[in-house]
């Protein structure tokens, strides 16, 4: 890193800290100076509660355990959605017959948000884990499918021709041209899908769960505990941020060939 880059990085971090401090200050002033304080906790107790609940359980579990419950559900729903989305997307993008059969059905189902499946899912699967996996799956897989489909369909024909001229057969063209050309699109889909999956798990937990961060905020609502609600929201925000960052890092590693400069 050059001197200029170090200076840029340091000033970015300083400004970030400054803006967070400013937000906390406004929060503190607004809550202590006005009647808002009756419905909204002060920042310090929220952070105290946040740190405390890492070890002291809320309901049956600690905050970390709640987060693990939610993450596990997202993991199952998201991964199954991603696998189905990628496979179906590539099949639709490359095989016209499958495209013609699946696309009309898909276009009907796609505009229905994942959460709209909650009532039906509860009737089908009860209020167990399957329901949550299903809701997350429905919330996430459409984005992966759509992006993968676009990537697989629009592979540069000239590159396919170039590979043929170098002696690649159909299978080799699929493995060495179509798949790598689709990877950036697949990642764009996974990125969006992960955030919608994270939203879907909260919705699922708010309706039917005794654990998870979604349960934390509805639990807080039911008992009038605004501090607990804010602790839950804070956890949701932090986990979402971490997931998105991990995803971007993976993308950067796998799609390094698209990045100009050093």
């Amino acid at each position: 890193m050059s001197k200029q880059q170090v200076r840029d990085k340091v000033s970015t971090i300083l400004f970030a800290m400054l803006s967070v401090c400013l937000l906390l200050l406004v929060w503190q002033l607004a809550v202590s100076g006005t009647t808002l304080g009756k419905m909204f906790p002060k920042p310090i107790p929220v952070f105290q509660k946040f740190v405390e609940s890492l070890t002291v359980p809320i309901g049956q579990y600690t905050l970390v355990q709640h987060a693990v419950f939610s993450l596990y559900r997202v993991f199952v729903g998201f991964v199954s959605g991603a696998v189905v989305g990628v496979i179906l997307g590539i099949a639709m993008g490359r095989i016209p017959v499958i495209d013609a059969i699946v696309k009309p059905i898909f276009n009907l189902i796609r505009p229905i948000p994942g959460v709209a499946w909650i009532p039906m899912a509860i009737l089908w699967f009860g209020i167990g884990e399957t329901t949550k996996y299903f809701i997350i799956f429905m919330g996430g897989f459409a984005n992966v499918l759509l992006n993968t489909y676009a990537g697989a369909r629009d592979v540069d024909k000239q590159l396919i021709g170039a590979a043929q001229m170098l002696g690649a057969n159909r299978r080799q063209i699929f493995v060495h041209i179509v798949l790598p050309a689709s990877v950036p699109y697949i990642f764009a889909g996974l990125q969006v899908s992960l955030s919608t999956s994270w939203m879907a798990v909260l919705a699922a937990e708010m309706v039917c769960a005794q654990e998870g961060v979604g349960y934390l905020i509805t639990g807080g609502m039911n008992s009038g505990n605004t501090t607990q609600i804010l602790v839950g929201m804070l956890a949701i925000g932090l986990i979402g941020l971490i997931l998105a960052t991990l995803m971007r890092y993976a993308e950067k590693r796998l799609c390094s060939w698209k990045i100009r400069g050093n």
């Binding site: 540069d156 021709g161 043929q164 001229m165 170098l166 002696g167 790598p180 060939w257 698209k258 990045i259």
Partner: protein
């Protein structure tokens, strides 16, 4: 049997009354019309003609990327019906695989043919060095300049050892200075590693500088207007009297065509 036939004809590429019509009935568009062409081994043939005349289509027919609507293209005595590794292609847009490094691109053909890694690496390295890209083996195309990308494209075609290399206006997108440089590079590469080359261009200097034989095409539909055998000594000078004389001759022929 195969061998004797090749010797008889003494040519690698034979175009036998080939034609290409796009579309059908009223909307049809004739692009290539009744072209006969024999290209000998290690000959550098330049296909030269006005813009949009059908040069690239003619090359695509030889490549097998397009199918002829009449006549037949033969390479090594076998009819061309599909793209295949005995013909190498260098594209104007380079058509490099962006997710592969320089090494990955150059060794691609050998990898597809199942050549062992150590062997194909060694061979690819030879051609990377030949085109002057030593030290860039691990770079991705996005980080290379236009001229360097085109060198990779040339190395990729050479490395697969095709019977004929087809070059489709490879320097069309480069700036004038890089273009001169690349023409000299092609001259150097071809004198080191003799190959049969069919080179499409609309630049007359490029044509005379590189060609053993220039095929001048007419406006669309493309037919062979005239052939020039260029036997000036190599490497050629862009400003020698013979060069300028030939340039004037071909230019006047083209002007006549426009009228």
């Amino acid at each position: 049997m195969e061998n004797t036939r090749k010797l008889e004809n003494d040519c690698v590429v034979r175009c036998d009354h080939i034609g290409k019509i796009f579309g059908e009935f009223e909307t049809s568009h004739e692009v290539v019309k009744d072209i006969n062409l024999n290209i000998k081994e290690n000959e550098f043939v330049v296909i030269f003609g006005p813009g949009q005349c059908g040069k690239t289509t003619l090359l695509n027919l030889m490549a097998g990327l397009e199918q002829t609507t009449s006549g037949e293209v033969n390479v090594n005595g076998k009819p061309v019906t599909a793209p295949g590794p005995e013909r190498g292609m260098v594209y104007q847009t380079t058509a490099l695989f962006p997710w592969l490094t320089v090494m990955g691109n150059v060794e691609f053909g050998l990898k597809m043919a199942g050549v062992k890694k150590s062997k194909r690496r060694e061979r690819a390295q030879y051609y990377i060095d030949l085109v002057g890209l030593k030290g860039f083996e691990k770079s991705y195309p996005v980080k290379l300049s236009g001229g360097m990308c085109q060198r990779v494209g040339i190395a990729r075609a050479y490395c697969n050892d095709p019977s004929v290399i087809l070059m489709d206006e490879p320097f069309g997108h480069l700036d004038a200075q890089t273009r001169y440089l690349m023409e000299e590079e092609i001259e150097r590469i071809c004198s080191t590693e003799k190959r049969t080359v069919v080179f499409v261009t609309n630049n007359i200097e490029e044509a005379i500088y590189l060609a053993d034989r220039i095929i001048l095409l007419t406006n669309c539909p493309a037919t062979v207007k005239k052939e020039y055998v260029v036997d000036l000594p190599r490497p050629r000078s862009y400003v020698s009297p013979e060069f300028l004389e030939l340039r004037e001759l071909i230019t006047s022929e083209m002007d006549e065509m426009d009228l």
